[in-house]
Amino acid sequence: MKLSLRSRLAAMVLAILLLAALIVGSSAITWRQVQSLRRHFSGVRIESFRIADYLQANVLDLNATLLQFVIGHDQKDWQKFSLNAETLDRWLGQQDPGTPREREDLPRIRSTLSAYRSEAGAIAAGSGTGQADVLAVLTKIERASKQLLSLGYDLASAHRTAAAELVDTSQKSLTLLQQVIFTALVLLMILGAWAITIIYREMIAPMRLKLVESRLTIERQEKLASLGVLAAGVAHEIRNPLTAIKARVFTLKKAVGEQSTALKDASVIEREIGRLERIVRDVLLFARPAEPKRQLISAMVLLREVAELMHGQLEKSSITLSIAASVDATIRGDPDQLKQVLLNLVRNAAESIGERGQITLCLRTEHTSLDGRLLDAAILDVVDTGKGIPHEVQKRLFDPFYTTKAAGTGLGLPIAARIVEQHKGALRYKTEMGRGTTFGIALPLVAFNEKLNDLRGNSQTS
């Protein structure tokens, strides 16, 4: 079943809202991830690595200076040591502890540094000049600086761990982000494909169908129009010689005696001329049917008139003709043309029955598709109990000049179909071999208010 336009629109709006929610959600997640990444970065600054390096380098430098002093006893070296130690201590004091670990470590480093300085002071004061003494002093210095160096190592390794953690977290965040973006993209694509499918199926496809239909209609109309011109031209060219022949036969018949065999020949010629006339007339009717003189008519009245016209003729073949209709229906059309169609269908039905049978003219209303629109239609059915139409005949039923009758032009049904088409209706049939055929003329039903308007219009003009 087809969804209504409203539900289709609702689905579209829902899809758009879903899409918007998805975009908002994924951007919120992305935002959060970026924020957390930024926090990590500010937590573990690359700068921090330098504290450890600087500390280690300076401590080694201090050791060297101290050793120089111990060996050379140059007062300048001691001053240099004190100055450098002081600078290092100040520098450490200036460092801004970024991580909790640094906050914890810096004071410890500073206190260890001051311990190292006092140790150095003690070494400086008590240093001898002997070779063994130098080695002892060196060992002392190393011992004093060892703690400081190991603290530096600790800090560096802590930084390294933090950095590794940061890289790890960043990688995890990036993977998560990638997944979110990928999921959003996939969902977006699915939604997009869905929307495109809906748009195509519900809007573009019907439009294209309509376009093709109208193109076919236009092509058909053009073909029929040129066919009409052609038919009129051919009819004109055939009718002139026919006139001459007919006039000659007329004088010939008068000239020959009543008993002569020539009279018989003349009559045959006359009959054949009549046949040619009928063909020309039918071709014209098919190729250029007269514009219907539309008026409001009662379908019931139409059926009754047809029944009356055919009644006598059908009785001879023991065919009963009856009307089955519960309610009347008003249609707009040319009564003469529609009568012509109905008479044609009844005649066909009678020929299909042959002898003894039943033809029923039914009238009903139905909600059906006509001329590409869904509307209320009056259906005028001609139901017969005849032989039915064989499958191979059905395929060519509406082909011009296709006939199964000895004396037919093969234009009856094509003309009927064209007339009904000109009334914006449709000629339909269903048939079953051995049981009979039903031909139905579907015509747009005239609505009550339309009838009223028409009556008003008429009373104003009259």
Binding site: A232, H236, T243, A247, T251, K254, L284
Partner: protein
């Protein structure tokens, strides 16, 4: 036999003209033939005409033009339009022709129409021209 009745027969098709000529002559009418509208009008000026049979498709001057001209000169002249063209009915009604007959002609009907139009009271002819009595029973159309 209709004695001394002059029929102007205008048709460009020679065979049609000759055949109709024979039919009409055999009925005792005097026939003057024309191959187009101009010839028909010329004949009309030359002498008295009782009734005209006009084809529509003619060279030089077509049927409806000739009809208009003849009606202007002699409004009371009965004119029968004979044509192989379909769909001339509305035009014929509007123009007020005496009769419209589609080819190939129903000859007994044509002869009857000639007789009837010749004996038609002048008032009928006039009222047809003014559009008051548009439809005669010889506005025959095959469709």
């Amino acid at each position: 036999m209709a004695k001394d009745v002059k029929i102007l027969l205008a048709d460009d098709d020679e065979e049609v003209q000759a055949a109709l000529n024979d039919v009409l002559r055999s009925e005792g009418y005097e026939v003057i033939t024309a191959r187009n509208g101009r010839e028909a009008i010329a004949h009309f000026y030359k002498g008295h005409i009782d009734i005209a049979l006009l084809d529509l498709n003619m060279p030089v001057k077509g049927g409806w033009d000739t009809f208009e001209r003849l009606t202007t000169i002699h409004p009371l002249l009965p004119i029968i339009v004979i044509t192989a063209r379909p769909d001339q009915y509305p035009l014929a009604v509007a123009a007020g022709v005496g009769a419209l007959m589609e080819k190939p002609l129903d000859l007994p009907l044509l002869l009857q129409a000639i007789k009837d139009l010749l004996s038609e009271p002048i008032e009928n002819r006039l009222s047809r021209l003014t559009g008051k009595r548009p439809i005669t029973r010889y506005l025959q159309t095959q469709v």
